[in-house]
Symmetry: D2
């Protein structure tokens, strides 16, 4: 189905639903999905509308001038996305390849609505995998002394390919503030703990030492504060005293790839709205 | 908050959202919750709208004549409920009291938006509990030969109290077709298995014999086909070889009460829409 | 069944299993449950053995002198408990009564193998509930200035009743170090977060602010460091953006009572072994 | 670590634990894992013991003559497996490749302790994947008229490679009774439902039609009764009214691969004991 998806965030006011519904009905939209949320503590209205474009009488190139007056009236932050335009996603990876394997397979099987023009890594390890899936693999080594140059090279690649979304699939380098600031809400990371527990390094070792009964994984947008960005998805799995650290790492791999895949899918389907450093998931 | 909730089910057509939104806006509704769903396989539109009545300019006694033209135009099945009108719920119970204990505590702590004028049982066992919570307790014994008389007595009590919802909290008698037909989508049962597995008698014994790794519970509306009505909620819990049948029964109790409580809560909050022998939960 | 349960913790060495098995076989024990665990990182051997006493030829009063030589040889920390001796449990509660309701019902229905001679509270609120279950209810108010006196009064009651286990069922006062030191691994608390996330005050509010996708509850032994004792059990439940803080609190109640009940049950059945500030659960 | 694992099933009798522990201690075994279970309803004793062979003084080639007297005394069904001997696993697949992708990646990353000499399929589709992992791929088409010949060809390959375990990774052909009888408890299947619900064909379509709130997957040993063999592992995932059949299939893929992978791993680590058409998992 050829659809458009509108995401809206604005102060909650009467008449919002009617204004949006009327606008869409005026142009004969066939709505296929509506979800809205009121955050009363912040008096916010958040909405996702998706409609079939088959009978839609407004040319999507004319959408912005047509819709902007309504957006202005209600002080909306808004965006519209077309299913016909596939987002471009870059994957960053280091040596652990389980998330990469998972994302590439899901992409090939049609679960992820995007193109993947390239994979960037600081190691050679995943090249054969990338080639199996026919995706360009760029190695940019990162050391103590060349971080700025490395990031410049990464950015050049991202810009050359018009990348919309960067997925850190267990990429083991911390990105600079300048880098993440250049891609607000467009860098998704997977952290191997149930944040905010065990943020930072070696979460599985610390979970083992603390004796928790569940381990978790968290996918979030990257902001300039490490492991503190808006959480998109989390999940946990039960462990027991029989599980040593290696087993936690093994069990955690399954969690990490599932949680990251869900977060990426929702982002690509325009189901995520961010406000107050948290997310609404219209899934 | 003093609200009204509208539940709508009708063939999907363009203009539905706009018609409803405009109607509500006309009378200055402050919408607090909207959820809608399109079932494409049946071309059905299903919706729940809840709005604050504070500024609403239409007297709710005049709601039906005002809304009916829209309902007719779109061939809607619809109902409206007011938060100010608390539904009246009767609980049927036999000897197992865990679901009853749970429902009464939730009711007392404000989780269940209803009044409970009476409890009906075929045994004396739960009388002290009912009295602790100050609820009338009626014992109507049921045997092979007096089922029709027993049901007549039950119906008389239900009618006398204007009961809207009957909850079978492990009530161990099968109701007649005439009885259930008199309360369509108004009798909620809890079955101690993951339906459709192990419908009928002794599900925990059969789960043990089959060697399943999870046991479940299912809450559903009662129809004339045993354990076949629309499912409102289900959940499961992991078991192991260490669990004998008694332990399954014990673990199952926790499942049963949680699953039943969620189903009852959703029904009372007008979050359940039934179609094609299944449910949409607007939660 | 009339059983004895032996819990053992010692350095791992060859011959341990054989020594224990032979000892039990010598006296004709009919073993009903064995579970053992090796923590390789600490070279520890941990074991739980339960046997039927019907045919056991050693008088349990003579157990210690008979077993001590083996215990000495392997440097065991050990304890033995008889199913015929029901532990005595005290419950501390403040105003939130959901965990208390749950524990008392489980106790009455036979799930918790213990006696409950008394409930201690700093408020009157739960008295009627205690009386319904026929349990003595003592109110000891706690303020800024009388904490020491209050704890002295609590201790006097605990000692007068020979209490083995103290359960803090949402008791909202922090116990002094002297108090908790007097009951090592004998005070169980329920914390309303997935520790170590959101330790301390107002965890649901902080979970809401952080935008986590799951909330949790943790039951742990109380040590002198707040919310840092050995974790016995944890669980989580999924939440969504539709859940405000009040809804988190409501959903959390179900988690809290389930998690606390499991922890208490395992403790009472001698299934918990503590080492290195964590627990092994032989369940 | 170089270990041996003993699996025992026999009538429960006093002295069993002592006899086994003494036998192992006689030869200086360093036990690393013991788990045992008594099924009281069938008076069965089931046990798994794993020990480090480093200091073990009995040559494993002499294990059977040394242990058989004990086995005879207690009427044991038993087997012993060496970690040094990697089982040989064949995978059968049709067109759906998600379970195959998952198993091959897990194998490569060291999670599955086995060799995979070959993959057998009735279609060409997965050949490139097999080649990427360097595993021989044999296509044996199966139609209405050549089933016997196809199975004969399959058996010839399995025998030529000394296959110990056959995994049906969404293999869409029903095996004949003769075939499955030749590999008792050595053929593992994944069924895409929570058995016994929705056994047979099209379980996702039937789950959708019935309106269940969770979908499941079940891994089991194949017996001559379709979908009725001993269950090794099961799991479920929550669905909602927003999920159409295609989405159930997509969500189910994640379940299927996780559940199958766990079952295969446990089998390969000799953690599964079968009795009375069900399993004990010593995990």
């Amino acid at each position: 189905m050829n659809t458009a998806t509108l995401l809206i965030s604005c102060p909650d006011r009467k008449g919002l639903s009617a204004a949006i519904a009327n606008f869409l009905y005026t142009y004969n939209a066939n709505i296929v999905h509506v979800d809205q949320h009121q955050d009363n503590s912040e008096n916010l209205f958040l909405m996702r509308v998706e409609w079939d474009l088959t009978d839609f009488t407004l040319d999507m190139e004319a959408f912005t001038p047509a819709f902007q007056p309504i957006a202005d009236r209600f002080q909306m932050q808004w965006s519209v996305a077309l299913s016909a335009e596939r987002p471009k996603m870059a994957i960053f990876v280091s040596k652990y390849d389980h998330c990469l394997v998972d994302l590439l397979y899901r992409h090939k099987s049609g679960e992820l609505h995007c193109d993947i023009p390239l994979i960037i890594s600081n190691h050679e390890d995943c090249r054969a995998l990338a080639e199996f899936y026919g995706i360009a693999y760029h190695v940019i080594p990162v050391g103590k002394d060349n971080k700025a140059e490395a990031e410049a090279a990464q950015k050049a690649l991202l810009e050359a390919h018009g990348i919309d979304l960067i997925v850190l699939a267990r990429y083991m380098q911390v990105l600079s503030h300048q880098f993440t600031a250049a891609y607000p809400q467009r860098v998704i990371n997977i952290h191997h703990s149930f944040l905010p527990a065990f943020d930072g390094a070696k979460p599985y070792h610390r979970a083992f030492a603390r004796g928790v009964k569940l381990i978790g994984a968290t996918s979030h947008y990257v902001t300039e504060v490490l492991d503190d960005g808006p959480i998109i998805e989390q999940d946990v799995i039960r462990i027991s005293h029989r599980d040593d650290v290696e087993e936690l790492i093994r069990k955690g791999r399954d969690l990490e790839k599932m949680v990251l895949a869900r977060a990426v899918k929702w982002h690509l389907e325009h189901r995520v709205l961010v406000y107050s450093n948290k997310t609404v998931i219209f899934a």
